[in-house]
């Protein structure tokens, strides 16, 4: 499996990535190349996914980050792990809370601006109303985890096949 991933990693930037990884060189492939992968190309959250799994937070991934990403997103990855990473992905401003602005950004990325601002506001209000348990008008990780545990489609949808 690691060999396959190495092949794919190398495909993205053949001039940067060496064939031989025994010395663990410190190579990072920039985000712009990673989001062109067929598995991520159509995903509206591809930028956030790559940023979350990269060490520097800017989206430049080393090979270890690359392997991490696909192992966390694979089918056999446990639910708790996926929940943690999903929370990080949806937390755009990285303040450990999914606030209304994060929700609005998520929704806009999902629908590509097809909803009117009024509808977006309504949907975000309803979502927070549904999931917010400690009534602080944003979703902490506990709120998010509780909501995801009851979301029936999460496990089947939140995985990438490679």
């Amino acid at each position: 499996m690691r060999q396959i991933l190495h092949g794919r990693y190398r495909e993205l930037a053949p001039h940067l990535v060496p064939l031989d990884y025994t010395n663990n060189p410190d190579i990072k492939v920039p985000m712009a190349l990673i989001v062109t992968m067929p598995e991520l190309k159509e995903n509206p959250f591809r930028d956030r996914i790559v940023e979350t799994f990269s060490e520097d937070g800017q989206g430049n991934m080393s090979f270890n980050d690359f392997v991490d990403m696909f192992s966390a997103l694979c089918e056999t990855s446990p639910r708790e792990l996926k929940t943690i990473y999903a929370f990080k992905i949806y937390d755009f401003n990285r303040d450990n809370f999914i606030c209304k602005e994060d929700l609005q950004k998520t929704l806009n990325k999902l629908t590509k601006g097809e909803l009117t601002p009024e509808e977006v506001r309504l949907v975000c209000d309803k979502a927070i109303e549904e999931a917010d348990l400690d009534a602080d008008n944003k979703l902490s990780f506990a709120d998010f985890e509780n909501m995801i545990s009851k979301a029936p489609d999460f496990l089947s949808n939140f995985h990438v096949r490679i």
């Binding site: 067929p38 270890n64 606030c99 998520t106 309803k126 400690d134 008008n137 089947s156 949808n157």
Partner: protein, 734 residues
């Protein structure tokens, strides 16, 4: 929303955390990633845990030790370090504990490998993967349901084969010519002309194959072939009637258990879902996007469907509001309209059922006359009930979907109600067919010579009807795909007229397809008693249907505009299947317990009812076993068993109610705790800042050492702290 002074606005306008919040154990358990610079040195492991507070480190470490390394949300390098750490620690354990730990790890790895191996052995794994990638998880659930039915039918066939057919096949002394004797017990003057001509017509061959008559009556296919004597093997005698009866009960019970087990997985999730806080919006936003999608068209489709779902939900909300605003006059008008429309629906159903009844009686009478008019006409006569049922099942869903528009229900309820009506229609049509056969059977008591073919061996007739229904169902599915869907696709692609474009490509309607295969499965369950090879035929039928549907899906269909969610569908499929099973049990139990088996054929020809085989076998057992079984069958046992089951059920219901109450209380507590936390942090910040500014640098240092690149408080901490608000209401004094 109360004024949150616990969070400050930094100089870049970003909301940042209070440093104290970062030190909370709940935050620490999130285990955010560390900067790579802190991992460079592979020396001491402790230095890497660069968070303030030894206590937190220790607690986190113990927490992490419980979880498998694979499950930790850490970068790869840190996972490797963890692994090295753990191997080092293990060296210091005592040998037996080491062995235990090693054995545990080995077993875990073995079970994981076994699971992966088993899932890779599943039938059609790659096909289903391909469908999932192209069409999403809703349609995937239909195909995995189909796979489940193939497995179920195969197992049922194996049960019937091993216990009923195999003994007859390996019978050391077969006496075939004695068993199937139509003339035995025949009181009528004229004998039915079932004797075959020497030269069999080619047409009659095909007719026989399609209708289960003629030569097929003398094969293992139909009930009439099985004999009622015991089979004497060298070691023991094998009572075939008893085995036949028990195999029937066995396969029904097996199907029930398997379906219940399969639905139990989805049911657990359904139970914990709170009814009043249905999370449709959150589920769509956070779990709505299918990360497997790789093609642009599929992504566009998914986006459109999500948009559609969100808009529908918003519409639902608006309609709910409108319904709450309804006046009394409106309500009266709507209820009146609903009553009228429901009566219309019942009228339509009654007409359909009457047509099925008439067709069945006509078909039986036509068969009985035994006049071979014409190949095609004969075929139509044979298949008349199936044709009428299929027509009815085709027209009524269209009618229902038109009617429901006038009844003014909420959209979610509309779909469910239409589905319920269709399910009712499909499954009751089988019941009506059986009822019409039964009414014909009753006439045998008074006038056995009127319908000799039916009365001499009625189980074979019923078996033939079920066989015909199955074959016809398969032919229809094949023909619809070939002659309706493919031409439609050709038309839409090559014809430029606007009508064709408006009609569009076929949509793969999951509910209708599921009802089709549940209908087929119900027929199989009912028919297996009369036609023991029917499960094998159904297995082959579903096997072929998989490939037909897959081909049709890929070539002809576009994804549904109203997608069927994978989660709710799991429940829906198994629920409808369970209804079908219960419906199938009714005719079988009536025929086992009440109807007199025909004297001329079959394993039960010596008994008054089929069920009698069991008590007769019990009589032959030794005294102790007889007493035990009599006790099990006695009323005292049944009543006490029933009482115990009721008590268990009440206990479980009470437990569930208590849990729900506790959950609500905990939910309220959570809200209070959140407010408490904020209040306490405010107070703490107040207390920290009361002394002079000089002391603040000392407070900087612990927080500087706990850096996650996610929080930028370290750069914003120099800003003034905003405080001095009145504390929120808290529950600390409750």
């Amino acid at each position: 929303m109360e004024d949150d002074s616990v969070f400050f606005i930094g100089d870049r306008g970003r909301i940042t955390n209070n440093p104290l919040l970062d030190q909370l154990p709940s935050y620490q358990s999130l285990l955010y990633r560390r900067k790579s610079s802190s991992i460079k040195s592979k020396g001491s492991s402790k230095g890497r845990m660069s968070i303030s507070g030894r206590l937190n480190t220790e607690r986190r470490k113990s927490q992490m030790e419980q979880r498998a390394i694979k499950e930790l949300p850490l970068p790869m390098a840190e996972k490797r370090i963890h692994k090295d750490q753990r191997t080092e620690e293990r060296k210091y354990l005592i040998s037996c504990r080491q062995w235990k730990a090693g054995a545990r790890r080995y077993m875990k790895r073995l079970t994981d490998d076994a699971h992966t191996f088993l899932s890779s052995m599943k039938l059609w794994r790659s096909d289903i993967h391909q469908i999932e990638g192209m069409f999403g998880t809703g349609i995937l659930s239909y195909f995995s349901f189909l796979r489940f039915l193939v497995a179920l039918n195969l197992i049922i066939f194996l049960v019937m084969f091993c216990f009923v057919m195999l003994p007859m096949i390996i019978d050391p002394n077969p006496r075939r010519n004695v068993t199937y004797n139509e003339h035995q017990g025949n009181v009528c003057g004229t004998y039915p002309s079932i004797t075959r001509k020497i030269l069999i017509n080619y047409h009659e061959h095909i007719l026989d194959l399609l209708s289960g008559e003629g030569i097929l009556e003398r094969t293992y296919l139909l009930y009439g072939f099985y004999k009622s004597d015991e089979i004497r093997f060298p070691m023991f005698t094998y009572k075939l009637p008893l085995a036949y009866l028990l195999a029937t009960l066995g396969y029904l019970l097996l199907s029930l258990l398997w379906i219940v087990k399969r639905s139990a997985e989805g049911f657990k999730r359904h139970l914990i879902k709170d009814e009043d806080r249905f999370q449709s919006f959150c589920n769509k936003i956070f779990a709505g996007w299918d990360f497997c999608i790789t093609s642009e068209s599929a992504a566009k489709q998914k986006r459109n469907s999500l948009l559609y779902e969100l808009k529908t939900d918003l519409e639902d909300e608006r309609i709910k509001q409108k319904m709450a605003d309804r006046t009394r006059k409106d309500k009266c008008r709507i209820y009146f309209l609903r009553v009228i429309l429901n009566m219309f629906v019942i009228g339509v159903l009654a007409v359909c059922f009457f047509c099925i009844y008439a067709a069945t009686t006509f078909s039986q009478k036509a068969e009985n006359r035994n006049k071979k008019v014409n190949f095609i006409v004969d075929l139509i006569h044979e298949y008349l009930p199936s044709i009428v049922i299929t027509l009815a099942n085709f027209i009524t869903p269209l009618l229902f979907s038109v009617i429901i528009n006038f009844e003014d229900y909420s959209p979610a309820f509309e779909i469910r109600f239409t589905l319920m009506r269709c399910v009712f229609m499909r499954l009751t049509s089988i019941a009506v067919l059986l009822f019409s056969l039964w009414s014909q059977l009753k006439q045998c008591g008074t006038d056995p010579c009127g319908n000799q073919k039916l009365c001499s061996c009625w189980e074979t007739r019923v078996g033939q009807e079920m066989y015909k229904l199955t074959i016809f169902d398969f032919i229809i599915i094949l023909s619809v795909t070939l002659f309706v869907e493919f031409p439609r696709k050709m038309l839409v692609h090559f014809c430029k007229c606007p009508l064709a474009k408006m009609w569009g490509l076929q949509e793969f309607s999951i509910p209708q397809n599921v009802l089709e295969i549940v209908y087929g499965q119900t027929i199989c369950w009912i028919g297996t008693f009369y036609c023991p090879m029917l499960p094998a035929i159904c297995t082959i039928k579903y096997f072929c249907i998989f490939y037909i549907k897959k081909l049709s899906l890929i070539k002809n269909c576009r994804p549904a505009t109203r997608p069927f969610r994978a989660s709710s569908s799991h429940f829906f499929f198994l629920g409808v299947l369970l209804i079908g099973l219960i419906l199938a049990c009714l005719p079988i139990s009536i025929s086992l317990a009440q109807l007199k088996p025909s004297q001329a054929c079959g394993p039960f020809s010596n008994y008054n009812t089929s069920w009698e085989a069991l008590p007769a076998a019990v009589e032959a057992l030794p005294q102790n076993a007889k007493n035990f079984i009599n006790l099990l069958g006695s009323e005292t046992f049944a009543v006490s068993f029933f009482v115990v089951t009721c008590l268990a059920m009440f206990y479980v219901i009470a437990l569930a109610g208590a849990h729900k109450k506790v959950i609500n209380q905990l939910r309220e507590k959570l809200v209070m705790e959140g407010q408490d936390k904020r209040f306490l942090i405010q107070k703490l910040c107040q207390a920290q800042n009361v002394p002079v500014v000089k002391s603040t640098p000392r407070l900087h240092s612990p927080s500087r050492r706990s850096p996650s690149y996610h929080t930028s408080f370290s750069s914003n901490y120099n800003d003034a702290v905003v405080l001095a608000h009145s504390p929120p209401r808290s529950s600390t004094h409750v």
